[in-house]
């Protein structure tokens, strides 16, 4: 495909992991992308401060789908603090890069995870 995506991105986009929602999630984050108007929703299941499950739903492009799949995989098993430190650059690196005009898509997952953690913390109080 001459769409500028590398093979890993296409592979992840074709078989994304952690798609869907978690009923009774401990934290839910929804963000919109200022650049393209697309939307991302992340659900977290958290036990003893560890992220035991993460799922996403997106109205977004192939890059948004691939980055959210990878980002959710990267945070499962991490502590909440570790997950909060995950950046879009980490996710893009894991995917072996994204076309320049698609970098903004990777921000969606990062921001949605942070929102979900914020939601989780608010619920803890």
């Amino acid at each position: 495909m001459s769409n500028g995506y590398n093979e890993k991105v296409i592979e992840v986009f074709s078989n994304p992991k952690n798609v869907g929602k978690i009923d009774n999630a401990d934290g839910v984050g929804t963000v919109g992308n200022a650049t393209c108007g697309d939307i991302m929703k992340i659900y977290l299941k958290i036990k003893n401060n560890i992220i035991v499950d993460a799922k996403f739903q997106t109205f977004g492009c192939a890059a948004a789908i691939a980055t959210s799949s990878t980002a959710t995989e990267m945070i499962i098993g991490k502590t909440v603090d570790e997950a909060e430190r995950l950046t879009n650059a980490d996710v893009v690196e894991n995917l072996g890069g994204l076309p320049a005009q698609k970098m903004h898509c990777s921000v969606l997952a990062e921001e949605a995870i942070r929102e979900a953690i914020k939601d989780y913390r608010a619920k803890q109080k």
Binding site: M1, N3, I10, F13, S14, P16, V19, G20, K21, T30, T35, C36, G37, D38, I39, M40, K41, Q57, T58, F59, G60, C61, A62, A64, I65, Q101
Partner: protein, 395 residues
């Protein structure tokens, strides 16, 4: 199933017959068509024949046909060349909001040079609103450039009514981008009443990188590519003989086969539209149901993004386009759909399917089945869709 190509509005393969006609001109008949010797004369014979073929196809004289390096170049030439030639008369240009970038962006460039441009709106089906043209046109309007048929939604513009309006304004030129129309509908410059008309070879089974501009006899526009005596001193650069020979044969064949070709495409297109509308919920056909190019279908799928559909179809071996190929590098949803007032979310989820000679009913049916799976999969992934669960039970 072999790979399936449903993107004929982006480009078509060169037909066998056209290819055979072109082949000798690469190395046997390699002469420069402008040379004074036998080699050159052999080449110019091919070019002359092609010029006659194009002229016959669009109902003009051979000396009204100028070959260019693409449809894009012909549009550049028509718009800039007319604007520069007529600037003493006025600096107002009218075009539509749904033109190809090769017209739109030239108009934007002219605005920077001190011209004033009116971008006519279109209705919800993608037709230019002729009353708006009546309101916009004035004594200092020097050019109206409106395409014959839109490349994204296939709407065939009301060119007769448009010409009726323009005719009232003496000295106002009428340019028509007919790139998508050749071979699909009748294109006759006298019938349209235009002064300038653009063609591109690769949209009707001819080669890429060759186009033509019809310039009505008696009309003088400024040159775009300035050099020597080629194309009667109107367009510089050594003639691309194989490509020119190719576009000539291709247009002759396209016009000869038009009825059969458009019926074939329309049969596939209508079956596709019917099945998609009946079997996939929450879809919207973009563009009109009548006065539409026979090979064009364009759908928006609620709650999902076009790129996901496009790539998944590609992985299944089915080639389509989202918006238009030229703008797929940009993030802006299609300017055509936006001009038609299509909801911005639906613009994001739009896909164009354009059919052609090698397509079959079996391919259409296979694509519909794949599309059903893909849309279902992506909708399950969509937060927007899940907000709408009430109405999505049976999807």
């Amino acid at each position: 199933m072999d790979r399936i190509y449903f993107d004929h509005a982006a480009t078509t393969p060169v037909s066998r017959k056209v290819l055979d006609k072109m082949m000798p001109y690469f190395s046997d008949v390699f002469g420069n068509a402008h040379s004074q010797h036998g080699f050159g004369r052999q080449a110019i014979k091919g070019v002359d024949e092609a010029r006659s073929q194009v002229a016959k196809a669009i109902g003009c004289l051979p000396n009204e046909v100028y070959f260019t390096g693409s449809g894009t170049e012909a549009n550049n030439w028509a718009v800039k060349g007319a604007a520069l030639a007529k600037k003493a008369k006025g600096k107002h240009i009218i075009t539509s909001q749904i033109e190809h970038p090769s017209v739109l962006n030239n108009c934007k460039w002219l605005e920077k040079q001190g011209y004033e441009v009116t971008y006519l709106p279109v209705d919800s089906e993608g037709f230019v609103i002729v009353d708006e043209l009546k309101k916009a046109i004035r004594e200092d309007t020097i050019l109206v450039s409106i395409m014959l048929a839109n490349n994204e939604v296939g709407s065939i513009q009301p060119y007769k009514q448009i010409n009726e309006v323009i005719k009232q304004y003496k000295g106002c030129l009428y340019h028509v981008d007919a790139v998508q129309a050749i071979g699909a509908i009748k294109v006759d410059v006298k019938d349209i009443g235009c002064d300038l008309l653009t063609l591109s070879g690769h949209k009707f089974y001819g080669p890429k990188g060759v186009g033509a501009l019809y310039i009505r006899n008696g009309l003088k526009i400024e040159k775009l590519i300035i050099a020597g005596a080629q194309e009667r001193s109107m367009r510089g650069g050594t003639t691309n003989t194989p490509a020119v020979v190719g576009i000539g044969q291709a247009i002759e064949d396209a016009v000869a086969n038009m009825d059969e070709y458009s019926t074939h495409c329309q049969t596939l297109r209508d079956r596709f539209i019917n099945r998609v509308e009946n079997e996939i919920p929450m879809v919207k056909l973009n563009g009109p149901r009548a006065n539409r190019l026979p090979n064009n279908a364009n759908f928006s799928f609620d709650f999902i993004e076009g790129e996901g559909i496009l790539f998944r179809l590609d992985l299944a071996g089915i080639a389509v386009s989202s918006g238009s190929a030229c703008s797929s590098g940009s993030l802006e949803p299609s300017h055509v759909l936006q001009a038609m007032g299509v909801d911005i979310v639906l613009c994001h989820g739009s896909i164009r399917f354009s059919f052609g000679s090698a397509n079959t009913i079996e391919q259409v049916d296979y694509a519909v089945e794949k599309l059903k799976e893909i849309v279902k999969f992506l909708r399950e992934m969509s937060p927007l869709f899940n907000l709408n669960e009430g109405e999505s039970k049976n999807v």
